[in-house]
């Protein structure tokens, strides 16, 4: 589906917010003392990374949709 210039600008912004969001959540979760807070923030990070993949799919005009579980943007799961 053809994107407008405005769509593209929003998508690029959104991808940047999501990228920062899951990097931040991943970092914070590692520092948290409280297990409940740690889990909640880690869960938010995973959500933001999923959003990133969903948005990226809209930019992929070649028809090859990368699967959410793969790709270089996938941070390592937290060590328990």
């Amino acid at each position: 589906m053809q994107l407008s210039t405005k769509d593209l600008n929003y998508l690029k912004d959104e991808l940047s917010w999501e990228l920062l969001a899951f990097k931040k959540c991943h970092h914070y979760a590692q520092e948290c003392q409280d297990q409940q807070v740690k889990q909640l923030i880690d869960q938010m990070g995973r959500m933001h990374q999923q959003h990133y993949q969903q948005l990226l799919n809209h930019l992929n005009t070649g028809g090859v949709m990368p699967t959410p579980a793969q790709g270089p943007t996938n941070p390592k799961p937290m060590s328990q």
């Binding site: 948290c32 003392q33 938010m44 799919n57």
Partner: protein, 117 residues
């Protein structure tokens, strides 16, 4: 800051709004409350930004993706708020009951202006 901590120690209240799990004396380093608060502020910022994008999406698939993300962010924001509230990290100020009643009286009287029966 120091005074507040001493007060909290002296009172030893077990109210639901009592803060838990924070260091007694706070230093310049970020604690769990700072971290969760920062994530909450970020979610709030993102819902505002996504809302504008949703309003202007040109195609339906793009609208649906962004709308679903917006819903997720609202849910996340709520989960963070609930967690903070349970720990007493997000205190709210109850409104004056008399003022609530006053407002009810005022707006209840506007029934005469309703065009629909």
């Amino acid at each position: 800051m120091q005074q507040q901590n001493n007060q909290a120690q002296n009172q030893q209240q077990a109210t639901p709004q009592h803060s838990t799990g924070l260091p007694q004396v706070k230093g310049p380093e970020m604690n769990d409350r700072d971290r969760i608060n920062d994530v909450l502020a970020m979610e709030k910022y993102m819902t505002t930004a996504y809302n504008i994008a949703v309003n202007e999406a040109s195609t339906d698939p793009l609208y649906q993706t962004q709308m679903s993300i917006l819903t997720n962010l609202h849910r996340a924001q709520r989960d963070l708020y609930n967690a903070m509230s349970a720990k007493g990290w997000y205190k709210t100020d109850p409104a004056d009951v008399q003022k609530v009643n006053q407002a009810f009286q005022q707006f209840n009287n506007y029934h005469t202006q309703f065009p629909y029966s």
